[in-house]
């Protein structure tokens, strides 16, 4: 049965996971040390798995015959609904881990709550993702502390990452009619309900790291509605190249 709202919601969450997964995969072979290279690839793989489940769900609910591949490879920038945070470039390792931590703190707030969704498919995906996110946030939080509380250079790089990315974090808690209508029905988690949990996770870690969010930073939004930063198009150009050049290619 077609259900446009649930399709849109699953697509938003799936796009977050897909785009962040691709960003992390850009590190493969370039990690600062072998163990971190492997850790970034593992995290990317978990996110890709979550993305596949969510996009498959979105395609089914949409009812237009699009499968996970059609949604991943066949949409243009304006049709992606991920948070602006996840499409931001990797920068240095400190910037990547800061982006990961700000996202992971959201993921560990979202998934356990969404696992109680009245939508059984979303609840099942969330139940699996919750376990993976708990692992990811331990890793990214540990690096934020290690770099923030490390050398002068690592501190400055971590602070620069936080200054750059903090304005994008506010988008996590924005809701439009999609989340509002579904939260009412017990299908989605209202993003505003996550803020307190996110702050309870982020605050102590930044404090331990000796890092402070930039003062007076605004909030950048628009990703959920398809208004993206310049970076997403470049990412998709690489990510979608093969299927754009050779539609339906398999190997």
């Amino acid at each position: 049965m077609a259900d446009a709202l649930t399709a849109a919601y699953a697509l938003r969450l799936g796009d977050d996971a897909l785009i962040l997964s691709h960003r992390l995969s850009e590190w493969v072979g370039h990690g600062p040390e072998l163990e971190e290279d492997i850790a970034l690839a593992n995290t990317a793989l978990d996110l890709l798995g979550q993305a596949r489940l969510l996009l498959a769900c979105a395609g089914e609910r949409e009812g237009r015959g699009r499968d996970e591949d059609a949604l991943a490879y066949g949409r243009d920038v304006l049709d992606f609904s991920n948070l602006l945070l996840v499409e931001q470039p990797n920068g240095d390792f400190a910037q990547t881990m800061m982006r990961q931590f700000l996202f992971d703190a959201y993921a560990v707030a979202l998934w356990p709550r969404l696992s109680a969704s009245r939508d059984e498919v979303l609840a099942g995906i969330a139940g699996k993702a919750a376990k993976e996110a708990a692992y990811h946030v331990e890793q990214s939080a540990a690096w934020v502390v290690r770099m923030g509380d490390g050398t002068e250079e690592s501190h400055d790089r971590a602070q620069a990452g936080l200054d750059l990315l903090w304005p994008y974090a506010g988008e996590i808690f924005e809701a439009d009619e999609v989340e509002a209508a579904l939260a009412e029905k017990g299908i989605a988690v209202a993003p505003s309900a996550l803020r307190e949990h996110w702050q309870a996770r982020v605050g102590p870690v930044l404090e331990e790291a000796g890092l402070a969010p930039p003062e007076g930073a605004g909030v950048r939004t628009g990703g959920r509605q398809g208004r993206h930063s310049e970076h997403l198009g470049h990412l998709l150009a690489e990510f979608q190249f093969m299927q754009r050049a050779y539609p339906g290619a398999r190997w």
Binding site: E35, E36, I38, A39, A41, N42, T43, L45, D46, L47, L48, G49, Q50, R52, L53, E120, V121, A123, G124, I125, G127, K128, A129, A130, K131, E132, Y135, E138, Q139
Partner: protein
Amino acid sequence: MSRTEEARRLAEAVPDPEIPVLTAGDLGLVRMVEEDGGRLVVRLTPTYSGCPASEAIRRDVEAALASGGFADAVVETSLAPAWTTDWMSEAGKTKLAAYGIAPPVRGPVSCPHCGGAAVEELSRFGSTPCKALWRCLGCREPFERFKCL
């Protein structure tokens, strides 16, 4: 043996492509086998949502069922309840340790090579999503640990 028991036996005997000492049965991946209107349905649960082995295991289970006389069997995936390493059999944990991988036992980790308790974690991630890198301070050998999930 009933048809469902026979199908379960075939599905549970399929080895994991990454850790071939373990079978789908050892990992607790076969969640349900039942006849649904004359059609045999086998329900598998994936380990990690992105684990590439999950798809390989699913294909291998389909092939094993087909060659065992269940050509019409349907293999489905169920996500809930989410897989946990608590579903790994005791036999599976013993085989893992003998293979050189510390099994997912909650509590202190010991070296699968010498049994020593003086061990340390090197990285929380390893060669597959389900494993972490450790080393033994006694025999100095590195080893992998199957994470508790």
